[in-house]
């Protein structure tokens, strides 16, 4: 649940700004001041003079990422310029048991980079060198602070681009994308960060530098890289990263279709997918979201639309031509009253601008809001949208819907005015109920924003204790001291000393005297 807002909070438990279940994530200053002092000394000795921030005023600017609802001032901010510098800071943290949190551009929407009051915030914004664009290998090698869109900018002259495109692609960093396994509108066809990261240098929570994967695929051994991607900074900090570059398509067609209702738009989406067409993206926005986007970027979406679809087809021209004819037909058959095909890059950009700025644009129509991120099987879309509408009308809380319709990834924006007593609480309840809807339809509590500090408490709704325990075995293998972004993802940390597989209880047959254990 991400928020925007007035003084400080957006949504969230109205009294107390960090919910009780999240306090384990924030740390409390002063637990280990000697350790902190030692880490500060190492940071000062290792980093450039302006790479260590401990001025309280300056530290305040790092107290939250893109989810401003949770705020904690870190004890120290380190801005390394090289992997070696970063590793030195981590090594010091490990030696002195000081927790650390990695941060890229600070645009995450789940509080994954929420600092610890008793820890170091390690920011990669000065590690922004694009090391290589390897056209022949269809790979780029970049430092973690490199901005997502800059990879594409660097590869475009070679005829390539970097496919994952979160809405914040103009500023979010590759390192942050890797930590969160970021998605984007085009992952319907091209997949997520995990499908595009092929190698990374990892600074382990002990401060060791190890290489996972690389230019070649299928590295022998466990796919640790695949596990690290999306682990939200809890398994270490990835630095220099090798990513896949994708050939720029021969043709791109972006279609804007206006419908009277989300039901119609949903039916058109189903028809397209069922026919075996795989567009690069199918995005839906409802009337409220359209209103916000219009106010923010004047995207000129069809007037009076109850929903719009942004459908993008790309690939070989002959295929796109054929698919476009099908898509056009399915939209019309399902009630589209206006179809608009972008005829030049500027029109295409304007259509996408409306969609990509939608989250922040909602600030224009509501003083406060929560950005929700949930996933449902795509076929459940009409049913879940109706249920959300019912929730909205019964609670009186307005909900704007922006989502990746092609893959069932919903982003309901729950609107409220925190100045009104009880409004925050009501919005929070609606937002939570939407997640429950996702879970009950066999979906997921987050499709791309991550669990972070925001949804750790929801993990037990989706996973059993055993599931979470098993995941945390990986955590224990990487970070037995629980210092790498502790308190995120998991509601309760696993004690790594507790070795699994030891017989906690005797086997029933042994108990019954039917068998002997050796």
């Amino acid at each position: 649940m991400s928020g925007t807002h007035g003084t400080e909070t957006t949504a969230g438990p109205v009294e107390g700004h960090v919910p009780p279940e999240a306090t384990s994530a924030t740390g409390e200053a002063g637990d280990n001041s000697a350790g902190m002092a030692a880490v500060t000394r190492v940071a000062r000795a290792t980093l450039s003079p302006n790479g260590v921030i401990d001025d309280p005023t300056e530290l305040r600017t790092y107290e939250c990422d893109g989810l401003a609802h949770y705020r904690v001032t870190p004890a120290l901010v380190a801005l390394p310029e090289t992997t070696e510098q970063l590793a030195a800071v981590v090594r010091a943290c490990s030696e002195h048991r000081v927790p650390f949190v990695a941060r890229g551009s600070g645009t995450g929407l789940s509080g994954g980079a929420l600092p610890r009051a008793d820890g170091v915030l390690i920011v990669t914004s000065r590690m922004r060198t694009i090391r290589e664009i390897r056209r022949e290998d269809q790979r780029a090698v970049v430092d973690p602070g490199v901005i997502n869109l800059d990879v594409t900018r660097a590869a475009t002259p070679e005829g390539y681009y970097y496919a994952p495109d979160p809405s914040s692609q103009q500023i979010c960093s590759i390192g942050g994308n890797l930590a969160e396994n970021s998605g984007g509108a085009h992952c319907l066809k091209y997949g997520f960060t995990s499908n595009h990261v092929l190698g990374a240098e990892l600074v382990t929570p002990q401060g060791d530098i190890v290489q996972l994967g690389g230019l070649a695929p299928d590295a022998p051994g466990y796919d640790l890289l695949g596990t690290v991607v999306g682990s939200e900074g809890t398994l270490g900090i990835a630095t220099t990263t090798t990513v896949r570059l994708v050939r720029l398509p021969e043709e791109v067609r972006t279609l804007l279709a206006g419908f009277r209702s989300t039901d119609e738009a949903g039916a058109a989406t189903s028809a397209i997918i069922s026919a075996g067409v795989l567009p690069a993206a199918i995005e839906m926005m409802d009337a409220l979201a359209i209103e916000a986007a219009e106010a923010a970027v004047h995207c000129n979406y069809p007037a009076g639309a109850g929903a719009v679809l942004v459908i993008e087809l790309d690939g070989a021209s002959a295929e796109v031509e054929h698919e476009y004819a099908q898509v056009e037909r399915f939209c019309t058959e399902n009630g589209a009253f206006e179809l608009r095909l972008a005829t030049d890059p500027a029109e295409r950009a304007l259509i996408w601008k409306g969609r990509k700025s939608a989250f922040a644009a909602v600030g224009r129509i509501s003083p406060d809001y929560i950005v929700q991120d949930g996933v449902i099987p795509r076929t459940a879309l009409p049913e879940v949208l109706r249920a959300i509408a019912a929730l909205s009308s019964s609670s009186g809380v307005r909900v704007a819907n922006v989502f990746h319709a092609g893959d069932g990834n919903l982003h309901p924006l729950v609107l409220f005015d925190d100045a009104r007593p009880g409004a925050g609480r009501a919005a929070e309840e609606v937002s939570g109920a939407i997640l429950d809807l996702c879970i009950s339809h066999g979906g997921a509590i987050t499709g791309e924003h991550g669990v972070g500090v925001d949804k750790a408490a929801y993990m037990p709704k989706m996973f059993t204790d055993d599931d979470l325990d098993t995941m945390q075995m990986v955590r224990c293998a990487f970070d037995p001291d629980n210092i790498s972004n502790p308190g995120k993802v998991f509601p309760t940390p696993r004690l790594c000393g507790e070795v699994p597989g030891k017989r906690k209880h005797a086997h029933p047959l042994v108990e019954a005297g039917l068998a002997d254990a050796f």
């Binding site: 056209r135 997949g191 499908n195 066999g442 699994p500």
Partner: protein, 426 residues
């Protein structure tokens, strides 16, 4: 087998039998890469599999999971194999949600059966069956892939969720049944290619793709490694959107590049023509897949016995160097090396005939490994005769091996799941 071990197995049998409806004595055919097996349990469900592993844990049995047994000799022989957990009874395609383009199957399901089930809705699981008769579980455990990886990737790009049974018998799942999901760690990735050393996968959910309406293969012959590389580079940088770019390099020198095009009938026709023009030479298009397409080269070895099976991975730009290294090494050692694979993805499989002198194998492996390592990749000896496996480091050097050992230590601290089969003796 020692008497003590036999006694232990006898005690365990009772427990196992109460856990699982089918527990039998192993036969010599159950041996895992030459290592004899005591018992075989065939659980019918995840719950039964969990009970089996709990019982195995109580009795300290070393367990080797098995799908359909088509690749049990891959990797290194396990140190011991008291119990094979055979998943062939867990063969159901549990759910095919065509509208959501997903399928949920049990791990023992045949890949071919899954394809048949989803094919009726015009869909496919984009994992090539490179070893005929493979199960889903075995495919995941060994991370096999075929020509289609150029366009849609490998198991890691398709697997959405897994249900696993841990060495201690605890059932856990990760991921889910939706395409997009970033809640929690992606344990599926960890399990893929783990050769049964971490957990036993019992169920898996995959994303599906629509079956294209038409396909054509454009083939062109290439006279030298440089020629192969030139042709592959032409195709991958062009706008023909290949579904696969296969390279065939015969032991006698000379080879073929095959480009698979999939899509609409009209689109494929046009792209095939464009590809032919692009590649020049004797490039021509066919509807049928060329002989050997998508099969591992050692399956085509005429000599009876156990050929040496190699997997080479490398940066795309090193394709010619790897081919040249293989050719030179084979020439120097006086052996036939047959290479085939996804030239467009940086993966080649190699076969050396059964009975090839171990020193010659070592020579070829060494030279190829050097070429792959220089190109950011690796060379693995997937399979071979006991002499070959004993005579060399089959997995080769593995970075981050310490971290991998720590993962193994967490999941299987007693080393009871296929110990010794995997990298670094894991």
């Amino acid at each position: 087998m020692t008497t003590a071990a036999r006694t232990r197995l006898d005690s365990a049998r009772t427990a196992l039998s109460s856990a699982c409806s089918e527990v039998v004595d192993a036969t010599p055919a159950d041996a895992v890469d030459g290592v004899p097996v005591g018992l075989v349990a065939r659980p019918a469900s995840t719950a039964e599999a969990a009970e089996v592993l709990r019982a195995a844990a109580v009795f300290g049995l070393v367990v080797v999971p098995r799908g359909r047994g088509t690749k049990t000799s891959w990797g290194r022989p396990p140190e011991q194999a008291d119990l094979v957990v055979d998943l062939s009874r867990m063969s159901a395609v549990v759910e095919h949600a065509a509208g959501d383009l997903i399928v949920k199957t049990e791990a023992g399901a045949l890949l071919a059966d899954v394809q048949a089930a989803v094919g009726s809705a015009g869909q496919r699981l984009s994992l090539d069956e490179v070893v005929p008769g493979s199960s889903i579980g075995g495919t995941l455990a060994t991370n096999t892939s075929g020509p289609g990886r150029v366009a849609v990737g490998t198991a890691r790009d398709l697997l959405l969720g897994v249900t696993v049974v841990r060495a201690d018998g605890v059932v856990a799942k990760a991921g889910g049944r939706v395409v997009k999901n970033v809640a929690g760690y992606d344990l599926g990735k960890l399990v893929i290619g783990s050769f049964g050393t971490l957990v036993i996968v019992t169920e898996a959910v995959f994303r599906l793709h629509p079956v294209p309406a038409a396909r054509r293969v454009v083939s062109v012959s290439a006279g030298s490694p440089d020629d192969v590389q030139r042709l592959v580079q032409l195709v991958v940088h062009a706008q023909v959107v290949p579904a696969a770019v296969e390279v065939e390099w015969s032991g006698t020198g000379g080879g073929t590049v095959g480009v698979l095009l999939e899509g609409t009938a009209a689109g494929v026709e046009g792209r095939a023509a464009a590809t032919i023009a692009l590649l020049g030479g004797d490039a021509h298009a066919t509807d049928e897949l060329p002989a050997g397409w998508g099969r591992l080269p050692w399956a085509d070895e005429p000599v009876a016995g156990r050929p040496t099976a190699l997997k080479a991975t490398f940066a795309l730009s090193a394709l010619s160097r790897v081919l040249a290294a293989g050719q030179a090494a084979a020439g120097a050692a006086g052996v036939q090396l047959h290479l085939r694979g996804s030239g467009g993805a940086g993966v080649l499989y190699g076969a050396l005939p059964a009975g090839t002198d171990v020193a010659a194998v070592r020579e070829v492996v060494g030279r190829l490994r050097e070429a792959c390592a220089l190109a950011g990749g690796a060379l693995v000896v997937l399979d071979g005769s006991p002499e070959v496996k004993a005579g060399m480091d089959t997995w080769g050097p593995v970075p981050a091996i310490d971290l991998m050992r720590r993962v193994k230590e967490q999941f299987d601290p007693e080393r009871r799941l296929a110990p010794g089969r995997f990298v670094g003796g894991i």
